[in-house]
Symmetry: C2
């Protein structure tokens, strides 16, 4: 805990730099020498403090996910306690799950947008040790929120809810990853999504939460044809029409 160099622990400094470099270049393309160089620590320090490069990546995620997923459980507990015997609304469940995540982007102490982008980019990494790690970190919170969604949508087949939970995870993950695709879609502007500050997190939240809720509550597959016919009559209008109902 004593600092021989500056106000930050060597161990913490390694984690901070690793988080940023893994985000910017990916795990495989980031060498331990790049990390120790930027962190201004000795090459051997990573193995001393973490044991291996793989263990370093796990620790980078563990310190953030431990907070995130325990916070998610606490919030869900609170919501369910308030609701008593009643089921939560889907929008409440989504707000608890994804809102908690997005709030990390506004707080640099929780990793900020750097961590959110890293998370989005790493969730699709095919490396076995990464998939295994995430499976363990997410198992409990996913199970709890899945049950909450089941209760909140009692008339929707559970299998459908499972798929849509997965699709929501995907939308969010990709949006956080912050590829250049948004800029390609948008045109040429150096877009807000590639920003890494707190304001970007808020803007993203405002845009993505309605999208997720719309997807979750979309017509069920077996009804899609019927809905298409209705939409044809209505001009396949945007959901603004809900206000006129």
């Amino acid at each position: 805990m004593t600092d021989t160099r500056n106000n930050l622990d060597t161990r913490e400094r390694i984690l901070d730099v690793a988080e940023r470099l893994f985000m910017a270049a990916g795990y495989e393309a980031t060498s331990m020498r790049m990390i120790t160089g930027e962190a201004e620590v000795n090459l051997a320090a990573i193995n001393y403090h973490f044991g291996s490069k793989e263990a370093l990546l796990r620790e980078v995620f563990r310190r953030r996910l431990a907070w995130l997923n325990s916070e998610r459980l606490v919030i869900l507990d609170e919501l369910e306690a308030q609701a008593g015997a009643a089921a939560l609304k889907p929008s409440q469940v989504l707000e608890a799950f994804f809102g908690t995540l997005l709030r990390m982007g506004e707080d640099p102490a929780l990793g900020g947008m750097v961590f959110l982008r890293l998370l989005g980019r790493t969730l699709t990494d095919p490396a076995d040790f990464i998939r295994t790690f995430f499976a363990g970190e997410y198992a409990e919170v996913i199970a709890r929120y899945k049950r909450a969604l089941f209760r909140s949508l009692p008339d929707v087949p559970k299998e459908e809810i499972i798929w849509r939970f997965h699709f929501m995870l995907g939308s969010m993950s990709y949006a956080l990853a912050g590829t250049d695709m948004l800029q390609i879609v948008a045109g040429c502007e150096p877009n807000e999504a590639s920003a890494t500050n707190a304001e970007a997190a808020r803007r993203l939240a405002a845009r993505v939460m309605p999208f997720l809720l719309g997807g979750l509550r979309a017509p069920l597959p077996q009804f899609v044809d019927a809905v298409a016919q209705r939409d044809e009559a209505a001009g396949d209008a945007p959901a603004r029409t809900v206000l006129t109902a």
Copy 2:
């Protein structure tokens, strides 16, 4: 074009193996020796035929994306010709864009699910040469479909459509990537989504297209509060309610 080994060109065999290995392990974690080993070609063959490992990756994608994105443009041309002066429905635009993609998963000659998974996993890769490559490959088709969506949703702010197009790309990309998250969400079954056959592509399409359309047509952000109130009265019911309207 002459085969000294079997019925497949050396060049094509390299591309096929590279596609599969890049999918399974990622670009950085796949060595040229792994590729030439499985393809049973000489190590130097990659550099002879493609010039470099980076160029090999680009060619793996180019042979698939050239077909995909030109097909997308042809289909959009046909739809717009049929529609005449009328705007397309959003569902038609989505079907043309994402349906064409998903149909590749059913045809091994177009890469099948192996290519779709590779695409989903690579779209979030941070490597500069990959982002630059995708930007070029997608620019035209994205611009065309973006305009089609603008026309199909004239009352929705263009900025909102841009964001939702991006979110849809993300949902699809992540779903194709086929991480273990679906299995985590689902429970423990060796799930259908991790299958790589044509049937998996059809099942995914049936699940994801309604989700995308629901997200695209979700209430606009400024109306979310009002919709939440309506949903509260209606019990935040699933979209099955559209049938009763």
